[in-house]
């Protein structure tokens, strides 16, 4: 009896599935292949999921693998849209051209890193050189006195470096932008496992300094203005300064297509750049391409 009931229940559960399967065989169903950057993969997935509600006839298959993988797939023509957290190289443009198409670039958002300190820290700006002395291997800054400040509530005035785990994109970008491609991080930093963890730790630790996405800012931490060299004027991190390119540690995030997109691909990209699409990237912790107003 019990077994019979279970079988019946199982069959009942299968019914809607088979109904669904039948529906998706409709002639107008389009699948878009979207591949590339791991930095963008979460946002790309969020876009794809939200877009299912907008246009149920278009399914977007998102895969990561890295920016290089995405662009290689674009060259081979196996994707409709390639995601990349770096701009396409000239050699890659030539390869796409050789395959008979012109790559078209879309900037879909910005990944801006802010340098955070505790709310009580009197520091207001910092330069790349100073950051490199704090974070870089062989750097000499160990105490806040090295920056000529005294941080209230910080015992021993030691600089507590907060960083990220060594294979995160944020770690790699900060290293490349601030330390240079070949200089390693100084060992002994507190390596947090997420963007939010960095901000949380800085919030609770008077001695701390950390870097994380702009969107993770809270009222209890302070974001430093960033100068590329010590005597140049420092730029405040914000969505605006990330968009106009004046903020030095923001990188644009790209999507590439082969030739001018048409049909479903164009509709999808237009939607990504719309208010709704840009709110999703903001929600995921990146800067949108322009100011957007998103309800809470």
């Amino acid at each position: 009896m019990n077994t019979l009931n279970r079988i019946t229940l199982f069959l009942l559960l299968l019914l809607p599935l088979s109904g669904c399967g039948g529906g998706s065989d409709g002639p107008s169903r389009v699948v878009l292949e979207n591949k590339g950057s791991d930095t963008l993969v979460n946002v790309a997935q969020a876009w794809a999921e939200a877009y299912r509600g907008i246009n149920p006839n278009v399914a977007i298959a998102v895969t990561g693998g890295g920016s290089g993988t995405g662009i290689a797939a674009l060259i081979n023509g196996t994707v409709d849209i390639a995601n990349s957290s770096r701009s396409i190289k000239d050699s890659e443009i030539d390869q796409v051209r050789a395959a008979g198409a012109e790559p078209v670039e879309y900037i879909v958002g910005f990944d801006a890193l802010a340098v955070y300190v505790h709310g009580d820290n009197p520091l207001t700006s910092i330069s790349f050189d100073q950051l490199a002395e704090i974070y870089g291997e062989g750097g000499t800054y160990e105490n806040w006195a090295d920056l000529d400040i005294e941080v209230p509530g910080c015992q021993g005035q030691e600089i507590i470096r907060v960083s990220r785990q060594n294979n995160s994109g944020t770690y790699a970008y900060f290293q490349e932008a601030v330390l240079g491609a070949t200089r390693d991080f100084k060992l002994g930093s507190r390596d947090m496992h997420g963007s939010k963890d960095v901000v949380d730790l800085v919030e609770n630790t008077a001695c701390a300094i950390g870097y994380s996405g702009l969107a993770y800012a809270t009222d209890h931490v302070k974001m430093l203005d960033i100068a590329t060299v010590s005597d140049s004027s420092a730029v405040m991190p914000s969505v605006e300064s990330a968009i106009d390119g004046s903020y030095p540690i923001a990188r644009p995030l790209f999507m590439y297509t082969r030739g001018e997109p048409t049909g479903a691909t164009k509709e999808y990209l237009d939607w990504i750049l719309s208010e709704e699409g840009q709110c999703i990237i903001l929600e995921k912790g990146y800067a949108p391409v322009r100011q957007v107003s998103c309800g809470a």
Binding site: N167, R190, D191, H193, T205
Partner: protein
Amino acid sequence: MKQTRLIMPTPDLSPEAIPTTHADLEALDRRDLAWYVDKGLQVAIFIGGISAIVFVLGIFVFITKEGISFVTGRFDLVEFFTSPRWLPTSNSNPTYGALALIVGTASVTGMAMLVAIPFSLGAAIYIGEFATGRTREILKVLVELLAAIPSVVWGFIGLSIMNSLIIDLFNVPIGLNILNAGLILGLMAAPIMTTIAEDALKAVPDEYRQAAEAMGATRWQVIRRVVLPAAKNGLVAAVLLGVGRGFGETMAVLMATGHSIQIPDSLFDSVRALTATIAAELGETAVGSDHYGALFTLGIFLFLVTFIINLTADLVVRGIRKK
């Protein structure tokens, strides 16, 4: 087949009824539903029984397979055990020194044991020897409840509450350190240690206590001179299992140690544990790369260490059971 016979109805033992031909035996062998259920359960229990061995072997084979290309290739034994430089993603010069991670794990586990041993042995002695009736039952339930708190919750307590608390109490720059992780890990390991230690105390025959009391020993003397020495092996096993728990714990130490690569010189230094390194880095590592292999090599090392600790504990426990 032999076992099936045993549950057959009482056999007719008269000489002519004893089955001699194959056909007679077939007739006796009634394969009804009960027989199949019995067989099925036998198989299921057998699979359940050996599954632990199969899984442990399977896991060992898997981590060895993933780590072996690194061990035989890039791996440098001296670097691995003597260098604190764990920089697997360096662009210029990747290094795979695990010393700081090993020291980190060892120091946090050591701190945890300093906390957990007095707590759990004290609790076990109180529950096993002094508490009676309701108090005893309630205490046992509470201790087991402590074991039910998920490790990520402990880690969260370490990250958000203990961090600020340690900064304020000890006037140190950061509260994510050996002390924080050790305290948390101690509290996490204490319940299982208490339970095993209490079992060990319970295994000491009451006659021992009665004999000692008859000779005029006080309660404390009975415990210290008679019960504890008699339960020694079980107590050692409890401590060893606690150590194994400490070595293997991941989430809480990831969050509470500060996850910082350095050789600590005080309780207030941040460290990084082996387990936490694997947890934090494996997810975003290219499969088959040196970094990937190095993480699995850490896994092999951890597996061997915890395996030896648990095996020792098991042998020690077996030691008392045989007596």
